[in-house]
């Protein structure tokens, strides 16, 4: 079973990495979703695998799964949702603003003007 889980985590990582290396926004967003799956599972796996022993306190229980990684992962899942939402909205706004959903940028480098405007405008005014 451990081999299945480990290989599954590896597979999710590989797919995630491959997708975030794509040129358009949407595959990158999906890639981050895959990476979240992989990371959450990995974190969960640090508590080792336990079957049929949920961390619900009961008097007759013979043992429990490690609750700490579970608590960490629970919030991590919700936070990854927040991140996915933010990234996809960022992609959406970028697309609406520029009409392109490429994440590759201009190969010639950043356009001049733009961020240095604050410097130049100050100098321009007497």
């Amino acid at each position: 079973m451990e081999v299945l889980v480990a290989s599954g985590i590896g597979l999710l990582t590989a797919v995630g990495v491959y997708l975030v290396l794509r040129r358009q926004t949407f595959p990158v967003v999906i890639g981050t979703v895959f990476l979240s799956y992989a990371v959450n599972l990995f974190l969960f796996a640090t508590g080792r695998l336990t079957v049929n022993r949920p961390p619900i306190y009961a008097s007759g229980a013979s043992g429990y799964a490690d609750p700490l990684p579970q608590a960490l992962v629970l919030t991590a899942i919700v936070i990854s949702f927040g991140m996915t939402a933010l990234v996809v909205v960022l992609a959406l706004r970028g697309f609406l603003e520029t009409g392109s959903d490429s994440v590759e940028g201009d190969p010639a480098g950043p356009a001049d003007g733009g961020d240095d405007a604050t410097v130049t405008t100050d100098q321009a005014r007497p």
Binding site: M1, E2, V3, L4, A6, S7, G10, L11, A14, V15, V17, Y18, L19, V20, L21, R22, R23, Q24, I30, V33, F34, Y37, A38, N40, F42, T46, G47, R48, V51, P54, I56, Y57, A58, Y64, D66, L68, Q70, L74, T75, I77, V78, S80, F81, G82, T84, A85, V89, A91, R93, F95, L96, E97, G99, V103, E104, A108, P110, D116, Q123, P126
Partner: protein
């Protein structure tokens, strides 16, 4: 304990002026003044003890691990500076009320001023040098705000930026110096360090400490070659110039040198660096001041010159010079602040401060003229004013200066500087006030109201009083302060009086006055002589340096091409891989000893499904909808894995998050292109594939290595304490809301921030190019069946049911799988269904709560629950619980953790709703026709009644 309040009251009081500014400018002034005077009174309460020779200590530990404490101490020096800062501050507050115009936001101004005042008092009273650094940086920041107060003026912004760069940069060096100093001295408390002078001076690190500390002091006190920022900072409103740039902030560097005098001064290195820098600054400042035409520029360079004088005196390293320095700090603060305020009055009344357009004001504004004339005479060092006394002492110290071979340079240089300062002082006073009245002033000058000249008059009164009766008025202050500067050594012989006999200093003084008058007479000649000199313009050099930095940064950015996300991620991933490989190759490894679990068929099927889904995603990611569906398949398999491995909470969370994010991505995909153009380059695919496979194999190997090894856990404690300590049997939930509640609190804040960022991103998308593109998109979207009937009916029927489920999951969460996170997601899904089925307009109109409010309420409730435990004397977020008997219902457990979980619940609902509703709102804009309000084809009878009823209301 009062001592702590002295810096804290202005810092906290900075909140007051913006609040009371609405009630008028007088109220704002009164409030601000009250803050400053309270602080001053609390300080002066300590004065008797200090003057009995005690050192007042107060404070508490802060972060003892790094030597940071919140400790203050007042000795003669600290008390002297703090009194000066607060007293002059009070005068400036009154003056500023009348100086600033109605358009200026006086509340903001006073807030900055109090912030600065508190920080400055903090510097001079800090016992801990790390604490002092914090205040030091605060003065840099608040002076940035004050210099740039008129943010509409380019000069103000540039001056503020330059001051921040120079003093902030110096602050960084000083930080390094203080850290080394504390390390060598074995303590960060000044009260200890001051006794460790011998150890520190003998240390091999002494030159390093000295260089770094001097860098901080010289930048702050505008010493050559860092003097250039001060004149540019004069773009500030005049009250700021008078306060920061004459009396207080620029003296922080001098204060630091005086404070550390017992620790650092007296070595050959000290004398060789500090005295010449001071001398050069004194000369350069005075020389430039002579040729400036702007009143404030003259005063600015004169301040540079006088700061140089103080630094030079400290640089001599002799006790007598230290006494002279202390005396001059006092005198300079009085006459220079008075002169700045007088210059402000002239500017205010005459409409210009250009000396070439002024003159003859004595008849028009006699009060100002008399006050400014006396202050100028003191600046020139004429008897019987206080400037004369300290200048005399300075010349005396210079004449007996300690520099061996070049000994004659110091007295000659000092006399020369005194000579020039006579010349510019006379030029300032005569050029502004003497001569016949003119008819071409921009305004009609006359004396201002008492509010403006009274503060000046008070200071000028001091100038005269100290000059006439120095020993009586300033004697004890100078003695006590100088004693604090020179440490344990006995005070040298000195006498504060006008007549010392025929000393060398007197001859130097006479020479300076005579020469100064000659120089004033021949000013035109001197100016012509100076005209062809090369004059490096500091501002141009500074701007060039800034531009060069920007250019270099842009060059690097272009070369690294970090605009390309794939490239950046590839670089990062490969770097991580290389580091991991390197670590792997160096370590020892073998198979784990933990027994593996047997594989069963269901797991194998799920694993195969995962592989198949992943493979299709990789191969067919051009089809975005398919990718999305397969992604949720993968998400389902992940939640199955959680169920399998005893994590029911995680499975519930994962599956609800899956629903929410699939809806979200679907909504986004509706507006994004539906396909990704296929990539043609095989090379690129192979390269990315290789990186991805390497990363995957690495993570898989790591996971396997962990899974096959035994471990020890700290969770046993959590499990054991869950019921008795946290009152719940669901250990995961108890950890979230109790043991690690602070983490959870942080996490819901992060969620809230993400939601607000989403709102900000999408709210503004309804304007500008994004909105135009949305409008152009209409033809592409079908909205004929925007609200399918079955969906509408089903979702509405489901809404109460879903709420019930949500409440149920929430309530059982403490003991059984469930809790605030999951319940929040479930309820949010129920809401989102309404948006999907019935449209944005319909749902939004019926929403009872604003999503922003939900997020905010969630965070606030969680925070208040945590604070509640403080009331019972327990640490933040300590939970408590009890069992209550309710008639009919029976035994019920109530825990404060429930309230905390409610906060979590609300924050999650708010975040999800805010994100999804915002996208729906964008979507609504892109839909073809104005969307019918709700399902257009049917209208439930009851609802129609409700609508009519509402209209009748």
């Amino acid at each position: 304990m009062n001592l702590i309040l002295v810096p804290l009251i202005p810092l906290l009081g900075a909140l007051l002026p913006p609040l009371v500014a609405r009630s008028g400018r007088d109220t704002a002034m009164a409030g601000t003044l009250a803050v400053t005077l309270t602080s001053l009174v609390l300080l002066l309460v300590e004065a008797p003890a200090v003057y009995r020779g005690e050192t007042v200590l107060a404070g508490t530990a802060w972060v003892p691990e790094i030597g940071l404490s919140f400790r203050f101490f007042a000795d003669g020096l600290g008390l002297f500076f703090a009194t000066m800062i607060l007293a002059i501050g009070a005068l400036i507050i009154v003056y500023a009320r009348y100086y600033l115009s109605r358009q200026d936001s006086i509340g903001r101004f006073y807030a900055y001023l109090l912030l600065f005042q508190g920080a400055m008092v903090g510097i001079v009273l800090s016992d801990n040098i790390l604490l002092m650094l914090i205040f030091w940086e605060l003065t840099s920041l608040s002076s940035f705000l004050l210099i740039g107060f008129w943010s509409h003026a380019a000069a103000g912004r540039q001056g503020a930026r330059m001051a921040l760069v120079v003093t902030g940069g110096g602050g960084l060096l000083l930080t390094a110096g203080m850290l080394v100093l504390g390390h060598v001295g074995g303590s960060y408390e000044l009260s200890v360090l001051l006794t460790k002078g011998e150890v520190i001076k003998a240390s091999p690190l002494y030159p390093l400490i000295l260089t770094l500390v001097l860098a901080g002091a010289f930048t702050k006190s505008a010493q050559f070659p860092f003097h250039f920022w001060l004149p540019h900072a004069m773009a500030a409103p005049t009250p700021v110039s008078a306060y920061l740039h004459s009396a207080t902030m620029v003296k922080a560097g001098v204060f630091l040198l005086a404070r550390l005098w017992p620790v650092l001064a007296g070595t050959e290195l000290w004398v060789a660096i500090v005295a010449p820098v001071g001398l050069v600054t004194m000369l350069v400042g005075a020389w430039i001041a002579l040729f400036k035409d702007d009143l404030k520029a003259i005063l600015a360079y004169s301040t540079v010159s006088h700061l140089g004088l103080m630094v030079m005196l400290l640089g001599f390293g002799t006790p007598y010079a230290a006494v002279a320095c202390v005396f001059h700090i006092l005198n300079h603060a009085t006459f220079k602040a008075a002169l700045f305020m007088a210059a402000g009055i002239v500017d205010h009344e005459a409409g210009t401060r250009d000396i070439r357009r002024l003159g003859g004001l004595a008849k028009l504004m006699p009060v100002t003229a008399v006050l400014a004339g006396i202050a100028s005479a003191s600046m020139a060092g004429l008897p019987p004013l206080n400037g004369f006394l300290s200048k005399e002492m300075m010349l005396e110290a210079a004449a007996s200066g300690p520099l061996g071979g070049l000994g004659w340079l110091i007295p000659v240089g000092a006399t020369l500087a005194a000579l020039v300062s006579v010349a510019y002082s006379v030029r300032l006073a005569v050029g502004t006030f003497a001569g016949p009245a003119r008819h071409d002033y921009p305004h009609h000058p006359h004396d201002p109201g008492a509010g403006m000249w009274l503060p000046v008059a008070l200071l000028v009164g001091l100038v005269v009083a100290i000059g006439l009766m120095p020993a009586l008025i300033a004697g004890p202050i100078v003695a006590r302060t100088a004693q604090a500067v020179i440490g344990g050594a006995p005070l040298p012989y000195y006498s504060l009086s006008l007549w010392h006999g025929l000393t060398p200093a007197l001859f130097m003084s006479v020479a300076a006055v005579a020469g100064g008058l000659v120089a004033f007479r021949g000013h035109a000649l001197l100016a012509r002589w100076r005209a062809p000199w090369p004059r490096p313009e500091a501002k141009a050099l500074f701007d060039t340096a800034v531009a060069a930095t920007v250019f270099a940064a842009r060059w690097f950015t272009r070369r690294a091409n970090v605009e390309s996300l794939p490239r950046t991620i590839a670089i990062v991933t490969v770097s991580v891989l290389i580091v991991a490989l390197w670590a792997f190759a160096r370590g020892e490894h073998g198979a784990g000893a933990r027994a593996m679990m047997p594989v069963h068929l269901v797991a194998l099927v799920a694993w195969a499904a995962l592989i198949a889904a992943s493979a299709v995603v990789v191969l067919k990611h051009g089809n975005r909808l398919l990718t999305l569906i397969l992604t949720s398949v993968v998400g389902l398999i992940v939640s199955l894995a959680f169920i399998q491995f005893s994590a029911p909470d995680l499975a519930l969370t994962q599956i609800s998050v899956e629903v929410v994010s699939t809806i979200l991505l679907l909504l986004a995909l509706n507006l994004l292109p539906k396909t990704t153009p296929p990539e043609m380059e095989t090379r690129r695919k192979v390269r990315d594939g290789a990186i991805a496979v390497a990363a995957g194999v690495g993570v898989a190997a790591l996971a396997l290595a962990i899974l096959t090894r035994d471990f020890t856990t700290i969770s046993d404690y959590h499990i054991a304490q869950s019921k008795p300590g946290g009152g719940g049997t669901n250990v995961v939930n108890v950890i979230l809301v109790d043991f690690r509640g602070f983490d959870t609190f942080g996490e819901i804040i992060v969620l809230g921030i993400a939601a607000l960022a989403i709102f900000a991103l999408l709210d503004t998308a309804l304007r500008g190019p994004a909105a135009r593109r949305l409008d152009a998109m209409r033809q592409g979207l079908e909205s004929a069946e925007a609200h399918p009937l079955i969906l509408v009916v089903a979702t509405r029927a489901l809404l109460p049911l879903a709420f019930t489920v949500g409440v149920f999951i929430f309530l059982r969460g403490h003991n059984q799988p469930g809790g605030g996170f999951i319940a929040g997601l479930v309820v949010a899904i129920a809401y989102i269904m309404q948006y999907m089925a019935s449209g944005y307009a319909w749902s939004h109109q019926r929403a009872r709560f604003d999503a922003h409010t939900l997020v905010g309420a969630g965070v606030v409730i969680a925070g208040l629950t945590g604070l509640g435990s403080l009331l019972f004397g327990r640490p933040f977020l300590t939970s408590s619980f009890g069992y209550f008997h309710i008639p009919l219902i029976g035994e019920v457990e109530l825990a404060t953790a429930m309230a905390f979980d409610t906060g979590v619940f609300l924050a999650v609902v708010g975040t999800v709703l805010l994100a999804l509703a915002q996208i729906s709102r964008i979507e609504a804009r892109a839909e073809r026709s104005p969307v019918p309000e709700g399902p257009a084809d049917i209208r439930l009878p009851r609802e129609r009644d409700a609508a009519t009823a509402k209209r009748e209301d």
